[in-house]
Amino acid sequence: MVIEQYTITTTPKYNFPHLIDTTLPQRLIELSLHSLKHVQNPPFQLNQQTFQQANSLEDHIQTLQPKLQPIPLKPKPQETMVAAVDTSSIKIGETSTGILIAVRGANVWKQNKSYRYIRLGPFLFHITEENKKEVYNALRRAYFNSPHEHDRQSSPNLLQMPTRIANLLERWLQKMFSKTISNGLILFDGSLTSGIADTPTQRMTEILTTARKRNNVVLAFSKMTSLRFNGYLITDVLLKYKPPYMLEMTGLKPKPPIVLLGDVYVARLTKGNYAFRLDIDKEVSHEHRIEAVEKLLGTDLFSQSYPETLRLAHILCTFTANEVIAMQHFIAHRYGLKIINRPDMHRLLFGPFGKGERRS
């Protein structure tokens, strides 16, 4: 099926960084409009749900072992660009044939002591069983730049679609940073684990390679991890050392096709009981890794061990309730959808004991 072309073009260039490849946003807009065009008339059910990007890859990783000695860190106040990427997706409603979702991404960077951002979206999609494959593959093609690659793979199920589309946008934003920044630190949200449908090893490797060629170091911070040591979450293992420090984790043996493109650390960067899993590009030398984290400590602000640039990226892409109402308003006005409230069966059946569908 040929997807109709729309006379909407993306912004040809952005203020910073100089993103040269606008393929994905262009395709996102086209697909967004196309999918919404086919959603006219049926009423839609108000139902919003923010998707956590669950790190299911970790389930495939075997037991790990921490190195006994932590790596002490000393902040290096050296002018370095710090850039961060994050995306967010949300289900904003249901129709009789599918779901309405919104996706948004944010790039934030700190330069000359001030933060700047580019925010892309929200892109709205009406995903149905009929169009999910078409939408997903079209976006992947746009991302992978190869017309027929991976078309053989099955598309995700309907409920996975918001996360998958957000992941595609996130990879694209990461790619843009790796291509445009030099001598900087690029912060990813999540880990450097690859080998599944929306995080192919080859493409992830490409991103890291491009970043390295331009003398960038990729640091991936995971807000949540399920990696355990002696039954405890690795981020709960707090040593009696004065932060900032990192603790290297060894012995991670992921099952194929999962590949770890980074080495895993537990980073406790400020005082307090907060620590995060930190993945650093494997191909970067040990000294450069330490230097990168020290530069990050010297350049960026930290609150509860988490870098401000990444926090801002997360804040900027997250959907607020107000925005969800606005998107529902947009869809209702532009596409004439009638908003209805479907009764919550849990509440209906169990009254105050019904927790509600969203939490089920």
């Binding site: 203020n15 700047r116 925010r119 606005a326």
Partner: protein, 486 residues
Amino acid sequence: MKLYKKEGNIVQILSFPNETVEKGDYLLIEDADAGKALIVQVIDVQFASIPGILEELLRSLPDGGELMQGEDFDPLEIAPHITYIQDAKLNICKIRATVENEGLSPSSSWLPSRSQSAIRKLPIPTLLKLAKIDGKLPIVLGGTKDSSFLTIDASSLDGKLNIITGKKETGKSHLSKLLMLNLIRYKVTVVVFDLNGEYVSLGMTADGKRNAYYNKIHVLTPSQNFKIALKQLDLHVLLSILIHALHLPGTSAREFRRIWQSLKERGSLALRELGEAIRNWRCNQHVRDALFSRYYALVNSGFFTDNVAEAMLLEECLFKAREEGGAIIINLRNTSAIDRQIVVEYLLGKFVELLTSWKLKAIFLFAEEAHLYLRETYWDDIVTRMRHFGIFTTFITNQPDTIRQNIYRQADNIFLFNFTNEHDLEVVSRAARVDAETVKSIAVDLPPHYCLVLGKVVKDFPMVAKVKALDVKTMGETRLFFKDMN
């Protein structure tokens, strides 16, 4: 606009940025199925409680309180929808009446449909027509927000107790002048207790020429062109002056009554004779001293004369005003506090006398800052007893707490200008014809010269109007030291 909530007689209406609604506006909630409509007035405009708004605002200022620099690539143009939702307003409205079969009723016992009702702004002219706020004796108060005139009927001031209040320099005196001049047009007798000499030039235009009211404005300045002869005085009026204005004790008052009767019998009621009589009267020395001190206070006021020809002006002016309408301005500007009380005691007694004998039909009394000359017991007298004689008072003050609470309760009309002090608003909001929320919410935001009209003149539909300008020499401006330097 959408009907959101109703609690008591308060209705909450949701409006969006393209629907401009302001405090004081009237809205009509029409329920076609019920065949009825609710008239509500906006008393407060708030931001609608939008979920996630705090996060939205915090997100816009994450860079140490500075606005974060950045670009939004929003191809579907959803941002305007976000601001549209963010700027949604919640209008807190007071139910004023129900429209049914083209008639108004004060009922608010029914509830219009939330989903089916149509809400629209009710233009003031339509409301005036619906509420029949016009009449045969129109007085244009000023312009409303939707460029129409707010016209009241002069008869709605007839027999009524009115209060004009607001903080300094908001236009109270201006409104009282406007009401007064319009009443004169309808051949009303108006008396003004002019504390600051603001009304003395009402017969002149702003550029100093004579205007249409020139012959109807009679300025009486106590002890100058306004004097009274003892022969004209009734004993009870003089005793009122002595007891209430000059605080003469009861025993001394009894002696004075005997002295007065003695002089009257002899036909020698004159100032000199009165002094002699006190001197020679057989009584306790303390009583004599007390009487003498009051006697000299009367003499020194300059308000009393033995020349009857000198003391005829008040009645002349009142009778002239009775025929063709007019205002008697009692200029109290340079009169001392005691003398003011003497003058006012005399006048009120005189008015009652003239009205009781039907020499006058009614007097519309405008009293500025009445607490400065009106004795305590007169407040109740004015609003109850004297009203039955035909004295219809309008109090003008910038200190609302100087007017007694029971006066507010009985006030028929209140013309309220801006007040920022909550205590002042609290006092005014005790008036029976006013709901406290309306007063507190609307009066606080009134710009200078804008007046919130409450009461019978507007058939209990509170309305805001910008008071019309007058082409008269108002003299109400504050004297400024730096005026010429600028």
